[in-house]
Amino acid sequence: MTGEIGELALCLSLALSLVMTASGFAGTRAEAAVARSVANGAANGLLVFVALAFGALVYASIVSDFSLLNVAQNSHTLKPLIYKISGVWGNHEGSMLLWVLVLAIYSAAIAASKRGGARLTSAALGVQGLLALAFLAFILLTSNPFVRLDPPPFEGAGLNPLLQDFGLAVHPPMLYAGYVGLSATFAYAAAALIIKERDWARAARPFMLTAWIALTLGIALGSWWAYYELGWGGFWFWDPVENASLMPWLVATALLHSALATERTGAFRSWTLLLAIASFSLSLIGTFLVRSGVLSSVHSFANDPERGVFILAMIVGAIGGALALFAWRAPSLQSGASFEPASRETALLLNNVFLAAAAATVFVGTLYPLALDALTGTKISVGPPYFAITFAPIFIALLVLVPFGPRLSWRKGDLVASFRLLAPALGIALVVAIAILAFTAPRTLFGAGAFAVAAWLIASSIVDLRARGSQALKTRALASMLAHAGLGVTLLGVAGTTLWRSEALEVLGPGETTAIAGYTLRFDGVKAVKGPNYDAARATITVLADGRTIAVMHPEKRIYPAEGQDTVETAIRTTVISDLYLALGDEREKGRWVVRAYVNPLAPLIWLGALVMALGGFAALWSHVRITRASDVAVAEPAE
């Protein structure tokens, strides 16, 4: 029954998305108030039915209804409840359904907020309806999660054990909240082009911020997961799947900044529209890269092209349609901005130049090997060294300039005064650089530079905030100060681990010891432990410093019989300024195991920084909502 309810709900959702599209676009005419209320109703109805379909799939997974092919392929009765639920979005069909659910949530939020006036809202709902229509058709035609299996198997095939983890249970919904959140910005931008509305950015800002916060947290969660689950002690691998989430983040960050200028002074109006289109396009491309199988091999995509071709067609349709609309309408919205070379506008422009170059770097680094293989058959690898040479300098240069932005006034800023005010932060950065060069090894200019830039970002945020006069000004600046300081905190973590990481790789038998970065590790043997759906080899390793025991750690190696795979469960002891990281390898001889140990100085700051950035996003969201509410009361819009 559950399957039928789910499928029926999906079909009704498809019909409602069609209604939402038609009535949304019809509602752009000033007199079509009826169409607008239909579009609103359709948005709410869409949310109800998509949620029903999603709920049906979650329920089927919880009760292990293996008569559904999707559940049989991806679940198992022994799986803990949380992974039965998160397993729903651990596979292709379910994750596409989650995608549409998030889209429906944003659509209902747009309908409820009515920001930017009734006509803009209506057009935005039309665009959202079109996206929902395309994705629902995609699900029903190529990726239906409610396909039946007859006869149902006795047991399910289980979920990839790497995904049976808390980090990966929450990472996809967070990332989708970001990816799909950009659809709302995209919808407002397209709506603005359709009805020739100049002031759309203010209406879209809460959605923009929400999406950015979710993307920031989603990427950080993914990186944290890779760090503790893969067992290599690394936090970012420049893997295409990671890159697919970084590209929309870079462009969305550029968009947040450019939209600020558009909102305040009307500058860069068409550029902001273009960024809104680009950021969602990159979300779609990211979805395509991850979901079509094109990454594992260009040829696997060609062998089973149905899904890939469908998503490709959607991307071409969405991007092509939006760009055509842009080319047609944007010139009529353009207004020449006027400002001095030393101004907030110039700073935001530079921010966008660097972020665009950084995004372009990730884009070619990710897609070039695919394109080259498809076109010429030549296989190349684009690995971390490429990004270290290209992305890193571009991004570091951007970070150096960051603190000047908030200090410069709109239209006409005072660069000399900014320098003078930020001088103490510059001093702190120099002291940090000299200290790093003098007291730490290895002595590299890169290391000193990275720490100096991190110190510069954090110190200048504090200096700047202290210099703001009134409490109200401080509150308004808090968002950017937190976000910029967060970048500095993350950079501290990246630089610390990259420069000072120690590693030890030993085969240890019971009672044997090895030393790493001032710690002595004593291997006390391995015990077999049984988990709910896995068997583990659990090591006991005693950590000693100066002859005293400071911790007992238990890295594990798990075998999941249902899935026939094994995973590494690292043991991490963190002091916030440093991580001691242990992973258990294979058994070499009887009782002697491979033990991999890392000391990663400052590593936790990488994710702490992302959290601080997200807090900055929340602060911006909070102050934006407060300010718009206040001004809405002041200039109440005339009733329809």
């Binding site: 290599w232 691998f237 893997d239 500058a267 594992s296 020449g336 901005a337 006027s338 400002f339 001095e340 070379p341 506008e345 110039t346 422009l349 530079l350 966008n352 130049v353 660097f354 665009a356 170059a357 950084a358 372009a360 770097t361 070619v364 680094g365 070039y368 080259l372 010429t376 030549t378 296989k379 190349i380 690898s381 684009v382 690995g383 971390p384 060294p385 490429y386 040479i389 290209t390 992305f391 571009i394 239209r411 006409k412 790789l505 030993e506 085969v507 077999a528 068997d535 080899a537 075998i559 019989p561 094994d566 390898g585 294979d586 058994e587 070499r588 491979v594």
Partner: protein
Amino acid sequence: MRQLLLALLFLAAVAPAQGLPAPDTLSNPVEEARARHLQKELRCLVCQGESLDESNASLAVDLRRLIRARIEAGDSDDAIKDFLVSRYGDFILMQPRFETHTYALWLTPFGVLILGAGIATWVVIQAKRRQQGRDRGRP
């Protein structure tokens, strides 16, 4: 069932040991450091996305041994890379070489940066001109 699981666990435990340079470490620390550095710049051909340094695949173990044998034989880093490329193709290099079919890859990042800087300069000049016009327009 339980016995089966234990048997599986046992099988996994006695499966051929993989992925560790420990017994193959070079005694000369400078040469070992060179080998570790090279390993990080070469891709494992079996498990994509990992370097030879990280991979557990048996091919990666063989290649780690091969790198060390070549270093001991006195080959330079570049000679070792050239040899591996001739055997496995460009795919094994984590950092693609700068050659005809990678010009676009290497030049795009800085090309976009320069192009963007050019456009930004033009926009700022235009905005400055308008600003002067406004200032002059004011009484």
